[in-house]
């Protein structure tokens, strides 16, 4: 549904959405997000660029999974395919057993580069989704906006336009906007990239609180391994370009986690090892 490429009909030979279920062979239970054999090749003037190859992993309901990998390894590409923003060249993503074909409010998104509506104030940006789907139970729309802005520490910028914000402030608005509609799944692409350490620590804590309280399913892209270890249940480690899944590391630590503890440092070292032994 792009400008000039809107196509509201279903492809005649596509599967009807909402009916087919994709059972996870390994667990016998339907994972909330199932990424199966996904590959993506971009066609450019200088020939095809393979971004990811045969990527397969699952995210269970209520699980917090991170994707880490070096720059250019296809993390954002995988994120966009799960979000339904990009069609895989091969393979498919299923969410709740339904083939992903387009984005929707069941999957809240936070982008690597803040994609704020420039014509809306900070509060207006947060309000956008609420105007579509209404405020979550127990909130009025205004209360929800206020609550989300408090969460990211931007109450005083409620009436500012995006151009008047600093880089980190803009990214926080993007996070507040995605949280506002209270989606069951959160997809985040390096959401804390331009946020300072202190705010980031606060946001980590807040995100985990929200996650614990609401049991959201979170798929989190980052290049910060410490962040991944601190937050996730499992970490999907991407190889260098073209991205493949080198390993899925389970982080079996209680929360809140101690960033300096031995178990923590061990896991961090294990993830790091995937990158250090690579050539280049």
């Amino acid at each position: 549904m792009t400008p000039n490429h809107s196509s509201t009909e279903n492809d005649p030979d596509g599967e009807p959405t909402g009916t087919d279920t994709h059972a996870d062979a390994a667990t016998g239970e339907t994972p909330q997000i199932a990424v199966a054999d996904v590959s993506k090749t971009f066609q450019t003037d200088r020939g095809p660029v393979e971004a990811i190859t045969d990527v397969t992993f699952d995210v269970a309901r209520g699980e917090f999974v991170s994707i880490v990998g070096p720059s250019g390894s296809g993390k954002s590409t995988a994120f966009r395919i799960i979000a339904g923003l990009e069609t895989p060249t091969d393979g498919a993503v299923h969410v709740d057993g339904t083939r992903v074909t387009e984005p929707g409010p069941d999957r809240g998104m936070v982008f690597q580069d803040d994609a704020l509506f420039p014509w809306r104030t900070v509060a207006g940006n947060v309000r956008y989704g609420l105007e579509e789907v209404g405020a979550p139970e127990g909130f009025s729309v205004d209360e929800r906006v206020q609550y989300c802005l408090e969460l990211v520490g931007l109450t005083d910028k409620a009436d500012a336009y995006p151009k008047e914000l600093s880089g980190g402030q803009r990214q926080r608005v993007g996070i507040a906007r995605a949280l506002a509609v209270d989606p069951p799944i959160l997809l985040m692409d390096e959401p804390f990239g331009s946020v300072d350490a202190r705010t980031r620590t606060t946001l980590h804590r807040e995100l985990l609180d929200i996650w614990a309280a609401t049991r959201k399913t979170i798929c989190f892209v980052t290049h910060d391994i410490e962040e991944a270890v601190y937050l996730s249940d499992r970490i999907v480690v991407f190889s260098d370009a073209p991205g493949t899944v080198r390993d899925v590391v389970t982080v079996d630590l209680d929360r809140p986690r101690d960033r300096t503890g031995d178990a923590f440092t061990d896991i961090k070292a294990r993830v790091l090892s995937y990158f250090e032994d690579e050539p280049g």
């Binding site: 923003l85 998104m109 509506f117 809306r120």
Partner: protein, 267 residues
């Protein structure tokens, strides 16, 4: 980027003092440009047959006479009676169709194809149809003006919609805007608003010119008066009313700019 001027030698006096100086300079340059323009015209008029390029005083004389007789205002009101409806209706249709063509491939292929056949039809060639469909009245002239306003708004709206940031659409969809109509209303239109304004401003300017041609239809107004004067080679009248159109153009342009600045404060 900040200017390279340095201001801290008198930090306290800076804001107002500086503004005063800038404004003074700006008005000065504008005045100088106007005076220069009149002088060039005058010099040109001295070496050109008087009945082709009259000197400024001859034109001024016509203006003074017609302002005091009220003719200028009478003609302006007559012209506005088709200028305003033509511009507004034509622009509204143009924006609507342009947005749809920019948005949907199917509409582009169907409406866009027909549009590319009709587009090059000169506005004047619509005169017979204006007569058949609307008659010899303000509606007929408004139709011709509307045609031109339509095309300009159509193309600006189309390119505005095509230029909408992909990612904002993605965000809109992910936040629950499902329908095409919803995306258009909540993401595409606000995004494309600057382009819509550009289109409308251009159309408002162009419409003054087309108005002159549309009044060939026999509808009274400034343009009609201008044609009569040209047919009798009264160039001082022609130029006087060209200046009148110039003033009307500037007034409408300022008005739209003002509106634009208000509605696009976020930029």
């Amino acid at each position: 980027m900040a200017s390279s001027t340095e201001t801290d030698t008198d930090p306290a006096g800076y804001p107002t003092g500086r503004l005063g100086y800038d404004q003074g300079r700006s008005i000065g340059i504008q005045l100088a440009a106007l005076v220069g323009f009149v002088l060039v015209w005058w010099a040109g008029a001295l070496v050109t047959p008087q009945n082709l390029l009259p000197q400024p005083p001859a034109v001024l004389e016509v203006l003074v006479a017609d302002v005091s007789s009220g003719l200028v205002f009478e003609l302006t009101v007559q012209s506005l009676r088709h200028y305003v409806p033509g511009l507004l209706v034509g622009s509204a249709f143009g924006m609507a169709v342009g947005v749809l063509v920019g948005w949907s491939e199917t509409v582009d292929l169907s409406v866009g194809t027909v549009a590319s056949i009709l587009r090059p039809v000169p506005p004047l060639a619509w005169i017979p149809f204006a007569i058949i469909w609307f008659g010899l009245n303000d509606s007929g002239a408004a139709f011709i003006i509307g045609i031109v306003a339509f095309w300009i708004n159509y193309y600006n709206a189309e390119s505005g919609v095509r230029g909408v940031d992909q990612q904002l659409l993605e965000v809109g969809q992910s936040l629950g805007t499902k329908t095409d109509l919803g995306l258009i209303r909540r993401v595409v239109l606000p995004s494309a608003l600057p382009d819509l304004f550009t289109g409308f401003r251009t159309a408002a300017g162009q419409a003054w010119m087309v108005m002159v041609a549309a009044e060939l239809l026999g509808v009274p107004g400034i343009g009609k008066h201008l044609w009569d004067a040209a047919n009798f080679l009264q160039m001082q009248v022609v130029i006087a009313y060209m200046l009148v159109i110039g003033v009307l153009f500037l007034a409408s342009d300022r008005l739209i700019k003002l509106l634009e600045a208000r509605m696009l404060a976020w930029r």
